[in-house]
Amino acid sequence: MIKKFFDTIRPHFQPGGKLQSFHSVFDGLETFALVPNTTSKTGVSIHDAIDSKRIMSFVVIALIPALLMGMYNIGFQNYKSAGVEATFFEMFFYGLIVTLPKIIVSYGVGLGIEFVVAQWKKEEIQEGFLVSGILIPMIVPVGTPLWMIGVAVAFAVIFAKEIYGGTGMNIFNPALVARAFLFFAWPTKMSGDSVWVSTESWFGLGRQLADGYTAATPLGQAANGQLIEASMTDMVTGLIPGSIGETSVIAIAIGAAVLLWTRIASWKIMLSVFAGGALVAALFDAFGAAENVSAHLGVCQHLFLGGFTFGAVFMATDPVTSARTEKGKFVYGFLIGALAITIRVLNPGYPEGMMLAILFMNMFAPLIDYCYVQSNINKRAKRMKQE
């Protein structure tokens, strides 16, 4: 039936048809609904059933626990700040109402640009943005205005991805570029104490909070030299102020399990990010200056707080922008972890270092790979000389 539907409307989208300029959109929707039945012409006759659509879909699936938990946490923080009791569903639906527009704006703007580019280049629509589009709302503070998200998404898709040639060719992780763009364009809206709790009431859900209500993230508190209020349990379950998707360690762990089991994310990167972070955190704990609260958070708090886990699981492991050689992945991951904690501790201006650490290492990933590939090249050259 669905096939018939596509068959009937196809002529309109083919060259000469009325809707010719939406050909890529039609194509995208058709391949979304039906597996394309083009068969191979040369090379292998049979193919593995995996394709990039399925890979991207699984990353989105892996993100869902963190997203749902983030929604609940938005409601939880709002009601908690208002000092009002509320049921689980009230909190969750409040979070849903606050988050959904962000997701819609992110996908709307991003996919819109992708459709236009695909049409222009006469290519298929690439599904890379399925992941970036959901990541971006999850890594911004809940108080980010929608128009800012829209601008950031447009910037990231155009300048971090399409100008390089699309999915697979970009150097920097587009979602992080969007985050960095927001961070440097509107620093007050991205950090500080007033952006982490949703303060408005929507459709009778949630409570209007007083103007100027503030709630700092634990890392923000530490950077200001205060002691962290949140308990370890809250950090693990995610009931602390923070960007929408990043707070719950448990939800992120479920996502990590999905990614590792399906081998979409590299365990080497994930493990070494944590190893690097843990080692540096331990070093700071042992040798850091006494008055620096961030230095003495301890390994667990450092790894569980802020965007560390989220970044390690979902951002550092982006196959396109990470190191592509197997040994290089260890180096790449380790340096991300180490850098993230170093930025946190040594730069009080940035309570969170994960974003910058990953972007920085995105830039250096080709260099790491270069070393390993070059060693293979040298080995071959040496072998030639011997004979």
Partner: protein, 451 residues
């Protein structure tokens, strides 16, 4: 004997493996030899339509040296010289006589022959055309002495013919063939662990070394074996020869006549009774598969070779010169599957655990020929390396070929590879890149640049 254990790779299990039974095939009405099967040559035709030929009469030679001859697999009358666009020679077709007559070659003293005499004999008899050389995976130039000759005595490709069965009753031909080749250069024979106690061993010849390779596909590829035993450097030349083609050499030595019959596997999920058939190269596929293939209301694909390396064949095609099996699979162009990106799809095979192949154990899959995804840039990393058992950075080499950076291709080891080595990587590629085509084109360009 050295034993090499190899971990990287992937055995693709397909339904319809050939059972070890042999059926006879009637002589066909027409046979064809296609220059396209011999990579890297420019044919110059030696026969005219209506001329009668014997088994072993040269039909065309390679224009470059005019030494490498390609001979008639059957005796009869040249029916047509088929040419395509710009008079490109497509095939030479022969109508066979009912009684086959072979040309005789002088093989006296083959056991002690000099390298050059042996080479001339092979060139004269047309067997030389079956050799391939690394680099470039083309028919070798007879004027360049090879460093060594590599033979893989088994194939790990899905649905491939089992050489253990093929060689039964022809063990002497195989051994004599290897011994003859050892007159030219050192011969390395790669065997699988299952072949250790079979009659093809031991090889009692001084210039032959046997090594055992244990691992998943593509361990049976001669390229993998070369990479382990004695990797090729720039400037070196290694010849390779299919195990079944060693039998051609052996038969020539023992009888003085060439005999291009093979036991090929007829396999695949759409074959009624997958088993072996004794045929001569150039046999028309339509006659070979007549009555063997299921009657279906969906489209089928005939493949000249196995599903990973073989070539899609038309109904009027002929058995390829190097082909050791013919496979038939569903084409799949009439399948309409909903929401493939999220459905569990239990019938599909994937190495990705986003499918359930890992749960279903040793199921034999019935796969069709859909690409099952759109072409993308290389997105996932280390995908190819997982199934590519050579010390080569595959994705970097592929990128160097795509960008045409010849120095980098050399540095990354392009001289060691042939397109077939990339078959498994191409199978699992989630970006659906045509790796074998990319490598073939890269090798062709490189060869042109270097000549």
């Amino acid at each position: 004997m050295d034993i090499y254990k190899i971990k990287k790779g992937l055995n693709v299990r397909l339904a319809g493996e050939a059972a070890p039974q042999l059926r006879d095939v009637k002589q066909a009405a027409e046979y064809a030899l296609r220059p396209g099967d011999f990579c890297g040559i420019t044919p110059k035709v030696l026969v005219k339509e209506g001329e009668s030929v014997l088994v072993g009469t040269p039909l065309f030679v390679d224009k470059a040296t005019e030494k490498v001859k390609f001979v008639a697999p059957v005796s009869g009358i040249v029916k047509s010289v088929e040419r395509g666009e710009r008079r490109k020679l497509l095939s030479i077709r022969i109508q066979p006589d009912s009684a086959q007559v072979s040309k005789s070659f002088d093989v006296t003293g083959y056991k002690t022959m000099e390298a050059n005499t042996m080479k001339s004999l092979l060139l004269e008899s047309g067997v030389f055309g079956f050799f391939r050389q690394r680099p470039y995976d083309v028919v070798p130039s007879p004027d360049v002495a090879p460093k060594s000759i590599f033979i893989s005595a088994f194939s790990t490709m899905p649905l491939a013919a089992d050489f253990n069965f093929v060689v039964q009753g022809q063990e002497e031909d195989f051994k004599e063939g290897v011994a003859a080749l050892s007159r030219i250069a050192k011969v390395h024979v790669g065997v699988s662990p299952h072949q250790l106690n079979t009659n093809i061993l031991p090889m009692n010849t001084s210039n032959v070394e046997v090594a055992c390779f244990d691992g998943p596909n593509p361990v049976g590829n001669v390229g993998v074996q070369i990479n382990r035993v004695d990797p090729i450097n720039k400037g070196e030349v290694v010849w390779t020869l299919g195990a079944e083609e060693v039998l051609f050499v052996g038969r020539l030595m023992r009888t003085g006549k060439v005999d291009f019959t093979r036991k090929i596997a007829i396999a695949g999920s759409e074959v009624i009774e997958p088993r072996y058939a004794q045929v001569t190269i150039g046999h028309p596929l339509s006659e070979l598969l007549e009555g063997e293939v299921k009657e279906t209301n969906y489209n089928l694909r005939w493949i000249n070779g196995n599903p990973l390396v073989g070539e899609k064949a038309g109904k009027g095609d002929f058995l390829g010169a190097h082909v050791t099996e013919v496979t038939v699979l569903p084409e799949g162009d009439d399948v309409h599957e909903l929401f493939g990106w999220i459905m569990p799809r239990f019938h599909e095979y994937s190495t990705s655990r986003s499918y359930f192949s890992w749960l279903l154990g040793k199921k034999n899959y019935r796969l069709d020929c859909r690409v099952k995804g759109g072409r993308r840039h290389m997105i996932m990393s280390a995908e190819y390396e997982r199934v590519f058992p050579m010390d080569i950075y595959v994705s970097y080499l592929i990128k160097a070929i795509i960008t045409g950076d010849i120095d980098r291709q050399e540095a990354l080891g392009i001289y060691e590879v042939a397109p077939e080595d990339f078959a498994v990587a191409e199978f699992i590629c989630s970006s659906k890149l045509e790796l074998q085509r990319i490598v073939r084109e890269g090798l062709d360009i490189l060869r042109k640049e270097n000549s």
